[in-house]
Structure formats: C-alpha cells, structure tokens
Symmetry: D3
Subunit: 326 residues, 6 copies
C-alpha cells in the first residue's frame, strides 16, 4: 500500500482516553448544535481507514463551521475523553488541508486491499473462463452494465466487506475458492460456479445507494420492497431474454441467485436444488466469515479473546498463540 | 348443478365396509399386477366428485383390461372390503358407458361450484373497477394471456381449492371480501387490492402442470426451482415494462406478490410493507381456511368433531349444533 | 371533530428542534428534581391528542410547581431542544387555563374517532341482531354489566387502540367486517360471530386499570395472574349459568374467547376448532393491523418509508404515491 | 398384591414369536371380519396387567363369537407369530372363565400399585394438613364432589399414569415430594403446595371419559374445546364463590392450575408467577418422568439400552449395572 | 448471622433518592476521571452485602485517591441523587476504617447463609454415604483436590448463587433434596445421585476466575473454549483412570455431568439417558429457581408484584398475602 | 477398479419390477419364518455395491437354509416383484459360490473409491506437513493408535460416507480442500487445519461398532452416552498429556473438535471461536453435502429431478442438462 500518513499518526482505532492527537482525518458529517444551557458548538464525525470517532468543537464554532466541508480532509489537534462510555475527541484546533500536503482521499477511506480496476480485470478473466458462450455473454453483459458502480460498491451497508470495493473483493475471493473446490469435487460445473459467483450479489448495486467512498446512505425503494436476490433473479430473466439464453440455463442461474442465502429467514425462498447452488452458498458464507474473523482478530493480541462481535452471533473470538494473522 | 347421477348412487365419500355398490365412476388410473403367488389382477383407482377409492379386479383381468381407458367413465358393481385399515372395492362386474347413458365427465370431476366462464367474467368485472389505467391494463393483459388455463386450473396440487376452476373461485371470493373490507377501512386503495388479488397466484398456471380436469400431475421445472411467487414478480416486471407501467406502481405490485405468504418459511422473503399487501395476505388466508373448514364440516354431524385434519395443523374441528353449514 | 385548538397551534407530533411554541397542553405528570450540581428544576410530561413531550422548567421551579395539577390543562411557552437524541421542551412560561378559555379535556386526550355513546349504541344494535334468544340475553347482560367502563376503556395499554374508547371502536369495526364476511361465507353463523366479537376482549375491563382518559396505569392482580382471555371464559361460564344458557352454546362461546389469539405463545391454549372461532381471530388481527398501519402511515409522506415500527414486527412501512390515506 | 395368576402364566409383555401360551386374559374388544378371499375370522385385542396383543381366531369364528364378551375374562391357548413386524396370537382354543376359577378383573387390568381407597385416604390426610380453613374447605369440597371418579380415573389417555387409579397415584407421590421439598425450601407455603397438587389435574375427570377400568375412550366435548387446565380454573372460581373464599386466595390457586404446564405450547398461557406455582410444575414433571423411566427400565436388562421411547422425546434410555430398579 | 453493622446503617438495597447516608462499605473499584469541562473527580463502585452503588467524589479527588484501596473498607458520608434513571452517591466525606472499628470484610461481602467450612463438612458427609467404594473414592479425591477453592467459589458469575460460597450452598441444598426424593422414588440409586450432584458443577472452579470474595472477574481461557460441563467430563475420565474406576461407572458419571443442562442450547449435547441423570437436572433447576424466587421476593411486599426479573425469563413475580417468606 | 462382476450382471440399484436376474450377491442376513397360513419360507436381505433388496425363498426353505451363511457370497436366480410399494426378489434358485468363481467380497461391498492403504498414506503425508512438532506428534500418535480401524471404518451408520473406508475418504477430501482454502485465506494456520481435520471425527471408531465391511451394527455404550465429539475432546486431552503438549495448543485443538458441528442442536455446545475451527466446520459440511449430492445425482438423468432426499432436508434435487456428473 506504499508509504502513507499512518506512518506518522495514530489511527482512530488505536486511540485511548487521555491521548493527544494531531492528525489528518476525513470529515464524514458535521452539525452546529446548542447545549441545554444555550451554548453553540460543532458536533462532527471524523473517519480514517480504521474507524470513526465523534468530536466536539466548543470554542469558536462559527469560525470552524466555515472551513468544514463534508468528505474533505482536515487536520485536527485535540485530546481524547471518555464520555458516557464512548471515546470523544475534544478538538482544540482544526484547519483545512494545505496545498502542499499531498494526501489522497483514498488514503483515508476504508477500502478493499486490492485496487478496484485490478479486481475488476481479474473477475472478467474468470468470466472468460466460462465455456458456454451464452452464459459467458450473459455474465459479460451484466458486468459491463454495472461496470462503473462495481468499481466502488461495498458488499454491504454494515458488516462484512462494507468498504469501498468490497463487493468486487468478495466476488474475487469466492471465484478463487470456487475454482479450487471444483478441482477436488469434479462433478461441479465451473460455468455455473463462475457465473453464479459473479452474479449472486451483483444487484446490490440496485439495492443500496452508495457514494463514491463505498459508504451506503440507505437502501433504495426497490431494494427495500424486493431485495437484491429478487432483483438479481429478474436481471438474469431480462438480460437472458435479450441474448436468447436457453430457458433451462436461465432458470438454473436464477435458482442459484434465489437460493444462495440457503434459509428462508435469510431471504431464500428456495433451498439449493443443484449441486452448484449448494456450493455457491458455502463459498459465500466462508468468505463472509473469513472477512469477519480477520477483521476482528486484527485488533486482538495472541492468547486473548476479542469482545463480543455482533455479526458473529455475538461470539467472543480467540486468537491462538503464534498463529499467522499479522 | 341440476339433476345428476348422485341422485341414484352412493357417493365414494359415503361408502363403508360391507356396502354393495353399482355406480358410474371415472377411471383415474389402472395397472395389471401379479400377486406373490403369481396370479394376475387389475389394480385401479376410481373417482367421483366426492373422492377416490382403490379397487381390484380378481377375475378375468385380461378381459377387463381391454375396456379400461384412463379418464373414461365406467359402471362398476362390487362390494367394499376393509384391507389394512383402508377401504377397497372388490369389483365383480365392470363395463364401459353405454351410448344412451347421458353422463358428462364434469359430473364426475371435483369442480368449483360456479361455472368457470361465469367466474372469469366476474373477475374481469373487478379488473374493470381498477381506476388507474396503467394498472387496469396490466391486469387485463395478464388475464388475457392466461385466459385459457384459468378456466380449469385448480389453486393447488393438494389442499385448499385443489379442484377444477379452484384458482378462479379462490380469486373471486377474495375479490368480494376485499371490496367489502375496503368499505370499512377507507385507507385501502382498491386499485392495489383488486390488482393484487387477481395477480397474487396467477403464476400457479406456470408453476404446476394441470390437465383439463384440474388435476395437477406435477410442478414444472421452473415451478420447482423458483415457485409461483417469484414467477409472479417477474411477470409484472416484464408485462409492466411492455405497457410503460410507472416503475413505482410496478414495484408496489411486485412487492404485493412477493410478500403475500407473509412469513419467509412460507415463501415470502419480505413481509408486507404496504397496507394493501398486509390485507392481501389476510384475504388469502381467510379464503383458504374457510374452504378447508367448509370442506371438512360437510362430512361432520352437528355436535360432533371431525377427525384430525392435516391441512388445518392437524386440528380436529367441531360443528356446533344448529349451525348453518348444510 | 369540529373547530378545535389545533387550528391555532402546532401539535406535539409536528414539533422539531428549534421550534418556538405557545400552546395548550395537558399535564400528564410532573416532579421536582435536583441536578448533580444541586439546582432544583421541574420535570414534566405534557400531552395533546397527537403525542407526548418531556419538558423542563429551569427558572422558579417552586412557583411553577404551585400551578401544576395532574390531568389539568396549562398554557406553555418555550422552545424545542434536542437532548440525547430526543426532543425536549424548555419551558419559558407556564400558566393555568383561564376561565374564558373554552377548552375541553377531551380535545387534548387521544380518543377514538367516534363518540363513545354512539359506538355503544351501534354495538348494542349488533347484539340485537343475534337470533338465538339465550345468546342475545347473555351478550346484553354482559354489555349492561360493563356499560360504564366500556365508554372509556382503551383496547390495550400500549399498541393498537390504546386510547379513550379504543375497546369499543375495535369491537365495532370487527362487527362490521364480520357481518360482511358472513355474506360471502354463508356457512358462518352470525349469532356466534356477533357474540364472539362483542365478548372476545370484554374482560380487558377487568384485566387493566384505566383512568377516565383511557390511560392504563397498570394491569390488575387478576389480569396479571390469569389474563383477559381466561377471565372472559369464566365470565361466560358464570353469566351463562345465571340465565340457563345451554351448556353446548356456553362451551362454544367460551372456546371462541379461549382460542381467539390462535397461538399458544400469544395466550390461546387451544387453536380455533369451530369455523366462527377461526374467523374471529382474523377479524381481530385485521382490525389491529389496519389500526397500526393507518396510525404509522398518517405521519409518512407518499413515496416514503416510515421508521421501523416495533408493533409491526419492526417493519419499516411504505406509503405508495397517490394512495388514499390523508 | 398377593398370589396372582402371573405366577402360573407368561405375561403378555414377555411373549416372543414362537411361544406357545395357555393363559387367562381380558377381552378388550373383538370383531368378526372377512379376508380378501372372503373367509370369516375373529379379530380380538387381549390384555393383561402388562400389555395388549392382537389375536386371530381362524377356525369356527361363529362358535367363538358366542362366548366373547367385552371386558370379560377368557382362557386362550395358541401360538405367537410375527406378522408385519408385530406379534400376533394365533388362537387354537378359547373358552370362558369357569366358576371355580377365582380370578378378579382387577388382577388383569393395569392399575396403580396402591389400592384406590387407601390412596384417597392418604390424599385427604394431606388436605387436612392445610392450615387455612377456607382453602382446606375448598379442597375437601372438590375432593368430595369427584370422590367416585377419583377412585378409578387414570392420569392420562396415553403416556404416564394411564392406568386405573393413576390420577390419585400421581397426586399422592407429588404430595409426598412436595412436603419434603417444603422442608428444605422454607419459603414455600405448604397450604398452596398441598392445595395446588390436589387440584392441579382434578378436572381430568371432566376432560376425559374413562370406564371403570381406567381406560379412556375419548376426551369430552368440553375437554377438547377448553381442556382440564381451563376447566380447573373455573372449578376453583365457582367452588370458591360458594364458600366465600377470599378473592386473593382464589386467584392465587387458579393461577397455580393455569400455569402448571409452564410453557404456552404445553397449555399454560401464563408462566408461574408465585414460588409455589413454580414448584408445582417441577413436582408434576418429576413424577411423570419417574413414572416413564421406571416403566421403561422395568423391561431393560442392566447394562443395556431400551428402544427409543416416544414419550421421553424419543430417547433410548440406559440401565446402569447393579442399580436398584427391580 | 449475629449482630452486624446493618443494625446501625441503611443497606445499599434500601437507598432512595434524597437519602443522606453515613455508612461502612467496601470499595470494589475506583478510578480518577476528567469531566468534559476538564475537572478531575473520583468515580467509585461501593458494595455491601445487599448490593452495589456508583459514587462520585467531586471535591479534592487527589486527596481521596490516596486513601482508596480496592477491597478495603471505608466509611462514607453523602447523599443519594438520581442521575439518568440510576441512583448515585455524591460523597461528601470519606475515610479509611479506624483501628478500633471491628468490622470484618465478610460482613460486607455477599455470601451464602451457612459458613463455608460447615457446608463443606456436610457435603463430605454425603460423599461418605456413597456405598460403592470406587465412586466414593473418586468423589472424595476430587473434593480434596479443589478443597480450597470450594470454600469461596460462587456458583455463577451472575444470576443464581453468585456470591461467596454459592457453589457449596447450591450443591448442599441439591444433596438434601436428592436424598429425600430418593426415598419416594425407590428406583433411584443414591450413589449416582450423590456423586452426580457433588460433581455436576465442580469444574466451575476451573471455568471461572474468582477472587476470595466470590466475585468472578472473568471466565478462563479453557472455560470459554470448552466450559465446565466438558471440563467436568474430562475430570472424571482422568481421576477415574487414576483409581481404576470401572469404565461403566465412569461413563455413567460422565454422562450425568454432560447431560445435566438437559437441552443442547443450554450446553448439554446429550439428553439424560439414565434415571439418575434425569433427576439430577431437576434437582439443579429447582435449586436455581428457588434461589431466584427467594432472592426476588425478599424485596417484595405481600400482595405485590416484583419488577420484571431477567433471570426468570423476564417474569414479574407475585408474593401472596400472608405467605412464609420473611 | 478393474474388471468386475458388474460387467456381467444388473446391479441391485438398477432393478425394476418384472426383471429376471441371475447374479452374485452378498447375504447380509436371513431368517426362516412362517406365513399366517403356517407355511415356512426364508426371508433374506441381499446386497451388492449399489444397494440392498429383500428376497423370499418359498420353495424348499429348509434346503436353502443349509447353504446360507451371513456375509457369504451366493448366486441367485429369480424375478423381481413389487409388493406393498417395495421391490422384492422371488428366489427361484440359490447356490453357494463355486471354487472356480473368482469373486472377492470387496467387489460386493460398498466402499470408498480409493484403496484404504493409499488413503491412509495420503492422510499421513498431510500429518507430516504439520510444522509444530508437538501437534504433529499428537496427530501421528493418534493415527497410529487407530490405524487398523481406520482402514475400514465408514464415516457414519447411515447417510454420507456410510461405506467401507468412508471415514478416511471424508478426511482426505477435507484435507485437500483445507490446503487450498489456506492459500486464499492466508490468516489460516495450516497446522491447526490439518490436525483439526484429521482428528475431528476420529473417535467415530470408538462411537460405533463396525464390521470389516464398514457396516455399523450399532453405537457403543460410550458412543451413545457421550458421543464422538466428547470422546475426541478427551482423546486429545489424554494423548496430549502423554507427550507434554502445550496446554494452550491442546485446548485450541479440543475446542476445534468440540465446536465443529457448529450448532448446539447438532452436538456442539460451543460455537467456533477460532478462525480455524470456523473453517473446519465448513470443510466438514461441504464434503458431506458434495457426497450426498453426487450420490443422488448419479441416479438422475439430465434435466430431471430426484425424489425427495431425506438427508438433504427432504429436498428433491435437479441435474442440469449437459453438466459434468457422469
């Protein structure tokens, strides 16, 4: 990832009560508010690659407000307090980025570890391995259609892969695992595996509204009323019709999308009925779980337990001594 | 329904061990088999409007086989035995229908109590009450498209309304109740109520294979892998596109179809999020339950309980004294 | 509803942080408290027809306390702050109602949209439609017995119909729907439908303690240990005995009350076993859901989603464009 | 129980395919039937204290029929066959009991191990230990009212204590355990413990129809529509009213009956809310489970597992070596 | 319990907003913190036998800090405020215990009502009643091994018996009940009952880290990854091997430990399959529930309901009038 | 697998009613029984690699009985009947294997597709890839200990891999997938992956009694009372102690075994808390599901659905056209 600003400043994730900081951060949002006593102050949310912190500017709120722009980089100086059980930054000084300070927004936005264009290329390489020309065409057409959004969409609003490029990163790791598993279980048809993986979540670009930083503000109206699984089924039906995709192949692919959450209460009204749809589910869940475990264990010392993690069914997870997570 | 053969013969539902019968019935299926001892015999399944019974022809099986044709009417004479806990007809005599015996297949096939064309007309009258021209056009186009099948499709393979014309009958009673409920709950939009009711199950004509007698042999490939709810959602998407239906209306209608089973484990990945989709679910379930109760109570005397009924969660139901079910 | 004070003042439901208000409200409760710093202040809860807001009087708490009486009307002036995510009224001025200010408490208390005496008359008209003289007598006797309480009892402590007259309003709408459904499903015995609806929740008057404003302070001892369903079963047993009600009819009615919540986990140890008890459940749930949907959708713009609604299983509900809810 | 016929004959429970028997048994039911081949035969169900077996009389069915009377004792000779996985007795000879054969029906009917009158006396002794005169009177009145039925009623149609006198035996063992537990947990009020135990199942005499042998033919109409829990609640309400029982005590007792199955899905709409109702549940379940375990383990050798037992959640249970069950 | 400091001071459980106190308490933990405004203060948690309260020292925090030692006794003077819905003690004066103030820590630490050494002796007496020499040796060896920890370990981190000596107290009451129940149900083998009860929770001393006051700071690494049930199974396997315990007895005992939580979701992968393991479960749950009920009801007046109690499935429990809980 | 007898005879799986057969099969069990009419006959169960069929010998049962030996090979001639919905072989001729008929039992016993010794060698090669010497020693010692049993044990009594060598085959495929997944998810420690996979089910050799053909007659006493998961945990504890395995590593491995069924109701009282135990679960379930799908799809034509498959949650599965399963 090269030389970046974290070499010189503490990341938000590392902060503790009592710390003094002097760092570049991204302004996610801000608001001018009034205390019960009637005093004005600025309430801000600041992020870097590692996390987010709430901050308050008690002095000269009006002056500060003038330099604040959402999604811009600022430099802040202040100290960390604990308030109501949460950390809070008391800002003593804040200023805009100087011209000569060569910092990219991408350095401050949580993102997938591989560059989006590179990921997209790799995904397209997998698409090209599909032997059936109809299915390959379908997959390439849909990739083309959503090309732009794929470059920044996260895989979720919260939870696993909820960062810039997360959707592509999720798909890419599933494709690699899917290719390997198909070597061991020879009865798997890689055409369906590759197509199913690439298309399984692709309608998340229709289900959620994401900004260019991979931050999802909300679900769309169609996303809420139907959801990306149903949207994905329709996508294949319609794009398949356009290219004369065999009905049997179209239905088999639609079924893969429909069943990939496996259980009705997770959104799949049908359980997998083909061997490739069965595998698709496990590729999906393994990648999600690996993401969550790695994400949690990053912040845990060897021989220690994490706090309870909501997305892992509230488990507290353990990092054995001398294992490989750096 | 006029004067029919039931005036002169015992119905299958009424038969008891020891009865002698001499009746017209429909041959649903037959097969020549061999006993463990090596003796040939004919194994048949016979139906009338009220039910089905297994029968055996022990004498001259070859001769009998010659006159047997599936879905044809025969006259049988014989006696009812109990074998392994079930009733069985021992056939003593069997012959084909004579030319002068004026009996229609429809008299022997379980059917809805209203004539199909009349029901379809009533349904179309409701469609015409839809005030929004786009939605009305959509509904009429889809009704037109499946016109033929609607005239005989049942509403299910087993359980409620699983007889000839059952789908239309189910829709029609829901429309009437929907119209009345909308008078009491003025916030309901009857356009969505009528459209939702008419379209909610319409893709059962794609999900199941039914013969002209309303007997479903099996689910279709797409029916099994996707199901009539998902098929219905796609139907509205595609037919809506064709007529330029406003996207918002299309999604609202698709959501009604998607959510009408209410619970994920019954096939709806989204719960109702509009007031009309909430009501649609109750219209559906009330009509199904009324059908099942009426169907069971027909055979129960006042002041008595029925046997346990699988489709009613295995309940045994009670018929109060002097109530109105004839 | 006539000309009322809402013509001239913002309702509590409409308030936003920053608003200045000058309005008549009802004092629900108040208390004099001390800050950590030792300063006295008055903490109040104020209501109008549309909702409730917490308020603080920081200046002259002792003086204010003198004019405060629970369930009295006051006029307040102040401004709306946001504190800890919730709105709070900072009271600048407060005074009792003047003699010449012609405002009724009923104008400030959330109530059913129909006048209680009118509702009770309509319910009694339905009772009179019961053809069986024994059942009619039973229903009239019980209505008579709880006549006074029925005029103001809500249908619940929280959730659906939890306002003045809510119980009668709930029963009335169910009666109307029940009458209509009985036209479509001719096998229903309206005697049991009308009696069941009128009696199904009537022991809520024994289960809860409500004041004259329809506000439930708590459940009664018997309410907590037995509940209105069991209380209702006993009511019919005992009142039935008094008038020589046929045992069969009494048990059928008791069963309707017992089973009307349908599922054991919602309080019904028996599922409905008669067709009228099956319908009673759906009349009940439809009216509750319509109430909740209408209640939520009132505050939602067309084409928008509500917040998540706890009583609707935490659903966020959608109001389609151009629908009929005003 | 003294010297009985089991000293001289194999019990039904011990029979194996291939055995020849010559034994006194009770005729539970019989029927003359016809084979598919048209041959008449007698189909009987025979019982002794240990179980039941199906039997067939192939020769001279008409003659046999003449001596058969339900609930009479006969002597049969025959051999045990295995047919369709079940044992069947092929009867070679059958005759009525001779005058000089001094065998009582009670010797052949499954019964509680203590004589009914003795059990009833012991239960009444516990009732007399109730210190509160109102509660003691209530309990004694209800015992008196159902005195006759209690002498033979089983505790269930199937499962635990489903034999003659089973209800009293169940209550008696619970009373003894309840008394002991109250010594350890001093906060328990034995008045409520004794009254609760005696009354908890007493309306099973209203819920089920039992013959004098403790065999339940069916549930009653009120039993099916309400159930013994609800019937028991009403019993206390009504009998309590008659003697002027304090309302608080009446409701506390009604709550004990109502909650003693603990979970809604087992028939208790309220969970126990008093310490005595909590204990009542455990007294009940312990006695039922001890009965089931002892019943199953009787037939199991040390160091072996039983077959799966439906009433014990389909568990196969193990009898350790050298344990105390004889 | 003799004459103790509660004779002269209000217990923490009794405190109400507005109270002034002057009392001996134990310092559980303390910390020096800074307000948003930058002011230092001391934040403390204080306990006595009855509960815990948060306290603040606003004046001279530095001076106070010097006399504070965790787990030491202090005397505090101050007043009780309500802050954010919780009680808080504003400390006006605090000092260490004086030499002549003869107060024991045990007087301030929540503990079982019987002296630990006495309880341990009683438990060992039960162990000596085990007739099988191998099982008796096993039980005595394990008791010996954990002798020291047993004298202070609680039975849980939170919930039932979570106080000093709670584990022994729990075991002792279960032994007494077990002995009595075995008198009624003669098929129970008291060897397994006594051994099973003594060993069922004994590995809680390995699962949790408790200080000498019976306060559990956390679960151990092995406790989290395996749990006391699995640890207990291994304990018997290994200690059994050492003394040549018959394999059959060892497995039967291991099964008792493994199955005593009854349901998989509570930690038992096998349900009880022996009669003694079935009973062990009920001894365990009865003692836990009696503890919880008694604990809650202590603070409730006759004829009143408690608040909702989380550990009792969120029930609110009722204390009947004139019952025996003092 | 070379040239085998299936080249010359129809396999049991392929049989249909009406077929005549003349084939070598293995006698799994046999019994002489009597018809209701008193006639003796032989009832046999015959197997080959593909399945099992019930057979009857009606003629000369005594003579046939003399040549029958369990687990011996016989040649049978006869015809296939359908009886009660199941296929049955009516044996016309049966004889023992002739000396010159060179057929091995292994040719008739369902087995894993790889030779056991070869599988065991491959598994040991994976064990040797474990870098940590303690863990490697542990794994090798346990493999050595159960070496003999591993060569023929199935992975289950019924369901997936329930054939000769099934346990090793299951482990081997999981090892291969585990190795590949570890390339993609670099944070996985292959030492734990390999050790966890090899040990996860190894105590099935203690849980079940299998004969040399991989047919499990029953579970062992310890298997029923504890189960292979708990047995596996103890195995690591004890074998780890012997070689001085670090306690942390031992517990981490024990936790992997304990948690690998993931859900309590499937036998894991703890959910995975390390990343390797999380993955172990998915390796296990993927291999089981691939086995089941491949097993079912073998018998299904392209473009068709299978019957419902109990072990796949009663799903009917679909085989797409032109896929790779031969």
């Amino acid at each position: 990832m090269g030389n970046n600003i974290y070499d010189n400043q503490k990341s938000i994730q590392e902060l503790k009560a009592g710390d003094k900081i002097d760092a570049f951060v991204l302004v996610k949002s801000y608001d001018v508010k009034k205390t019960t006593a009637g005093k004005l102050y600025v309430d801000l949310n600041l992020v870097d690659r590692t996390g987010e912190i709430n901050a308050k500017i008690w002095e000269n709120p009006k002056a500060s407000e003038e330099i604040l722009v959402e999604n811009s980089i600022v430099k802040v100086r202040g100290e960390i307090l604990e308030w109501g059980g949460a950390l809070q930054l008391k800002v003593n000084k804040i200023r805009a980025l100087l011209e000569n300070e060569n910092i990219q927004i991408s350095q401050l936005v949580p993102s997938a570890p591989i560059e989006p264009n590179e990921m997209l290329k790799e995904v397209k390489d997998f698409a090209d391995k599909i032997k059936d020309i109809q299915i390959r065409t379908l997959v390439n057409n849909i990739l083309e259609k959503y090309n732009n959004k794929l470059l920044f969409y996260p895989a979720a609003k919260k939870n696993h892969h909820s960062y810039r490029g997360g959707l592509l990163y999720h798909v890419l790791r599933m494709l690699k695992t899917g290719e390997m598993i198909s070597m061991i279980y020879g009865s798997l048809n890689t055409d369906y595996i590759f197509a199913g993986v690439i298309l399984h979540d692709i309608c998340k670009v229709l289900e959620m509204d994401s900004d260019d930083f991979g931050v999802v503000s909300d679900y769309t109206m169609e996303g809420k009323l139907l959801g990306h699984i149903i949207q994905g089924v329709k996508e294949i039906e319609i794009e398949g019709e356009k290219i004369g995709l065999d009905r049997e192949k179209s239905i088999v692919l639609q079924h893969m999308i429909l069943s990939h959450h496996y259980e009705p209460e997770y959104g799949s009204p049908k359980k997998p009925m083909t061997i490739e749809s069965e595998v698709l589910h496990y590729l999906d869940i393994i990648d999600a779980r690996m993401f969550d475990f790695e994400n949690v264990l990053k912040g845990v010392e060897e021989g220690r337990f994490s706090d309870r993690v909501w997305v892992l069914d509230n488990r507290s997870v353990y990092k054995p001594i001398d294992n490989n997570i750096k």
